[in-house]
Amino acid sequence: MSHPASRPRLNTAAVLPRIGAAVVGGYALAWGFITLTIASLVAAGVDYDDAWMLAMMVAFLLYLGAFLWSFTTRSAWLAWVVLLGAGGLMTGTAHLLARGIPGVA
């Protein structure tokens, strides 16, 4: 690790997009996961508070996974596309599901 060639170097141009993907992309993924989990569980008859708690506990672990993964992908843009795409897809599905839940205007 102390060999000069392998020493971690700060290359801003290469690194900023990855940090962005980790923080913002990870957040979007977690948001999508939370809303989809709550909406689908509530639609399946699970209590809202239970669904909320389960979604939150898993979401932070998922966020952590996405966060770390953003630094291991071949390209930062891949991380951006996958995380925002999956997050957006889940958020949209949650929105549609939520409209079908009884009692929701």
């Binding site: 939370i34 239970d50 966060f67 839940i101």
Partner: protein
Amino acid sequence: MAWLHTWFGLVLGFVLMVAFFFGALSVFDREFDRWTQPATRFAAQPMPSFDRVLHPVFEGIVEPDPEERAAAEDRVGGALPARLPVSEFSAYTTHRDPVLEAYVAFDVPNSPLDHDHAYGHRTIDPRNGQDLANGDLKVGSEFFYPMHFSLHLEWKELGYWIIALAAMTMLAALVSGVVIHRKLLRELFTFRPQRLRQRAVLDLHNLSGVVALPFHFLFAFTGLVIFADIYFPVSETQLRAVHDAHERIEAEHTGLPHDPAGVPAPLASVDAMVRDAQARWAARGMAGEVGFLYVAHVGDANGYVSVYRAGTDRIALTGQGIHYRASSGELIREDPPESAISSVNEFLTGLHLQHFRHWALRFLYVFGGLAGCVCIATGFLFFVEKRKAQHARAGLGGARLVDALAVATVTGMVIATLSLLVANRLLPVELEDRNLWQKGVFWLAWIAAGVHAYWRTRPTLEGRDSPAWAEQCLAVGVLAPAAMLLNWTTTGDHLLATIARGYWPVAGVDIALLTTGGAALWAARTLRRRALSFSTTAVQT
């Protein structure tokens, strides 16, 4: 992964250090409250009678606290009427609280939030209902504790978000640290203080990281879960309709009205309800201390009273709630056993907040928190030691800047904390804005320590050891025993007296002060000796 560990650890390590240190202090927040508020140095009290003690206190709270009003006006986007309708009464206590916090929730009209409230509160002596140290800064629970999770940056809840990013980074640093090393078991038994300094520092970094790894992971994770509602406000935004529908169904199901009826109604004897609740707990073989008492829709026909059992004997904060109609005292409902998911959630958050009675675990938390501080501090030291010679040759200031920030964060933070305790004992009781002065001393001492750290780390620029560490250790070594002595002279509660009386909240803080001072003086002496021996060898060669 190595890159991630180094740079994220460096940038957010400073925030994490604050979170860990003040988290460790917050484990004993009530004890710091006692130390800083001599008038409240008496035994913890149970929840007092509602009818005789609490009710008049609640009636006497006629408006929200000024900060609460300001925050509510922020949410509404305009001024609120002078008089706000009273909505709820509540009081919470634990097995470590001699004084009681009584809260009144006022309705906030025209708020974008559902059931939005602004709170007014008073601190009372539960033995007689009189104000006690009301309005005085509770240094432990109102200053150290919020520092731990909000950095006292209330604007737009910015502090919470910075802490969250730091917690997420902590989790990432732990996982990436494990990926870097992989030889966890060996790290646990490896510490070679006599070896090269850089090696010894790295050993200690790995050791402190690994020994408390489960603790660190669990606390960063549960910390995020505790404030999940702030970080992912789905219930107020995207899923608001689902959430509100659930609340209406829930209210029908439980029989606990969601909204007031708009019809005035009197309040029956709450003490009778509490006695009934205690009899019901006793029938289930449970201890009968009340932890949380709550009156919803005050003065309304839909009003109800909830009595929750204290969390002294289990992980969850409170529970086994029993609910009564406020106007008649008739039983509405007993909470059913928690669902599996809710039990897991309560276990995780309760484990972090630790309001239950378990002193051994309480001390382990402090050691876990301090192990985190050691891990982060040695991370900084390793960063500096590894680079300072190289930066000196290249004429770079990076190693020095990190060294200065490390000194300011590690010893500077301790100096600021001790200065606050010293100021607490020195500032006259009748001083106007005494709370502000105490906080001001804290921040000014920290800034001064930061300036000193930058000035006295200049030798790091040339690849040498800086005297900043030793000098600030010396300051800690002077301030800590000074705080203890000032406690003695201003209150008469010296260590022998408090130990003889078995009054551990104050004795414990005093012992911690002495230990801190002793350790800091030893560190200062060791650093100074080493600096001397280095400079003599340098002269000889």
